[in-house]
Subunit: 303 residues, 2 copies
């Protein structure tokens, strides 16, 4: 694939994902100038100290530039306002893409705010992340060998191809999906596991003090996997549940029903049922390892 | 701490944990001879091929030796039978310890089977593991900097000290606990997270085929953390739920109640509740990282 080089890129939101985009753009020399926006002074200072971008401001109007491409990497509740601002600011043809975890809501917000034909938007969701938040944790390899789902608004093949190429240049594999389907699939692969992780950790925090201390102390027994997910950014996740309510409630219902069958099997000493179910789940793990989407876990501690 | 050296050690069950014990005994030269028992021919062959022990058999009666110390590292349902055999086989003073995930049931089985005063048993639970099973996945560092919980049957301080020193020599930190308390704490830190992980993965396997394929494909979004746990040994876990039924059902009830409050908050758009809860869970993660019990997760793939 030929190398794409832009004159200028704007990243809105310099958290884990935004800062990883900044890093890969720099590392692969994909843009001459990398600009950023963030509302949080701490994030602005960290981005400056780490020299992640050429310039970072807290307001779009502090820029006088136009951009070749803009990435939105903020919590979903801020999209509406960002779209409104871009709608008045943009004066030349500009590619726009995002990293939001829901897609129906993003498209709805976009359609309500934007009538500026210079804004060429293809919604995206790079399936890559880490439980850490903040620009200090980003890294260029975050996207490597991961999927990026695009949910184009119109069937503009050229535009979709252009935005695809951007994400491909980060090392990602592109998949095109209907936004509604995206939101259902991600409810199951992401929003439900995350909610359950929060909930399990929440249950532990409400135990009596001594018990709680011991749960933390002996967390290496499995609980720590849930806390890893629960280490993610609370505001980002709060917004996901607000924006993907319908699919989340559907999948949560399915999960609760299934969990009840396990509970019943334990109560009735139905060991055969449990073993069969556990074997099926183990097979799924094997497939995920085989397709190279498992990541690697090291049970020892790094210093 | 002075180095302990035994003349001979017997490991019953050469899975992930048993084979890790074999490896650390060998690496630290803690025993002159390392013997093993396993019922599974595949495990026996792997142990022989990897040269993990001096001798491995599938029946205790194929040995003519006595041992200084015996480790039981098998699923909980086999304990009763093992205790019965040891009760007739052992003719000299022998330390006995185990690695079982429940302790009340182990003590009950022991008391029912063993009246041989040469058997000096202190139940143990090293809080260390990995989602893999089988001797090929064991490694000597598995126990390093992890807790080992001992639940002594009698207040024999000398015996407890001797068994403590064995686990300490593997790099573990020893904690003494009432068996009942152990079973409740572990229900929360281990048995419930594991069951929920199985259940989430199970829910995904019951989706229609295309949806299921996509859930697997995009598992890097969070789902994979659950599949990691669900990759563990099904028989071992089946036994845990049979043996720790009461505490598991209690904690499962607490979790289900909590999950319903999240579900309700999503349905009612109570974003404030969600954000507060998520923030609390994030704090717990921070503590677990600070005390060095988090392990490390690498979101990239190793080849």
């Amino acid at each position: 694939m030929s190398k794409i080089t832009y004159e200028s890129v704007l990243i809105i939101g310099m958290g884990l994902i935004g800062s990883s985009i900044a890093r890969i753009l720099k590392e692969k020399k994909l843009s001459n100038k990398i600009f950023a926006l963030d509302k949080d002074n701490k994030v602005i200072n960290t981005s400056r100290n780490l020299n992640l971008v050429d310039k970072i401001e807290n307001d779009l109007n502090q820029y006088k530039d136009q951009f070749d491409i803009i990435f939105i990497c903020t919590p979903l509740s801020s999209y509406k306002n960002i779209f409104d601002q871009l709608n008045t600011y943009i004066t030349k043809e500009t590619f726009l893409t995002d990293v939001g975890s829901t897609k129906l809501s993003v498209i709805k917000d976009f359609k309500q705010s934007v009538n500026n034909k210079n804004i060429l938007f293809v919604p995206a969701h790079p399936i890559a992340g880490l439980e850490k938040s903040g620009p200090e944790y980003g890294f260029a390899k975050l996207f490597e060998n991961r999927y990026c789902i695009l949910t184009p608004i119109d069937s503009n093949d050229n535009l979709t191809k252009s935005i695809s190429n951007i994400w491909k240049s980060f090392g990602m594999t592109i998949e095109i999906m209907e936004p509604k389907r995206h939101d259902r699939v991600l409810a199951m692969t992401s929003h439900i596991p995350q909610l359950i992780a929060y909930s399990v950790v929440g249950t532990a925090t409400e135990l009596e003090t001594q018990m709680k201390d011991e749960v933390i102390k002996y967390s290496a027994a499995g609980f720590r996997d849930f806390t890893r997910l629960a280490g993610s950014d609370p505001v980002m996740w709060r917004d996901v549940y607000a924006k993907n309510k319908e699919a989340v409630l559907e999948m949560l219902g399915r999960f609760s029903e299934d969990l009840l069958t396990y509970q019943k099997a334990i109560r009735n000493n139905d060991l055969k049922y449990l073993e069969e179910k556990f074997n099926k789940s183990k097979e799924i793990r094997k497939i995920i390892e085989d397709i190279g989407q498992a990541g690697t876990f090291d049970p020892t501690e790094k210093n």
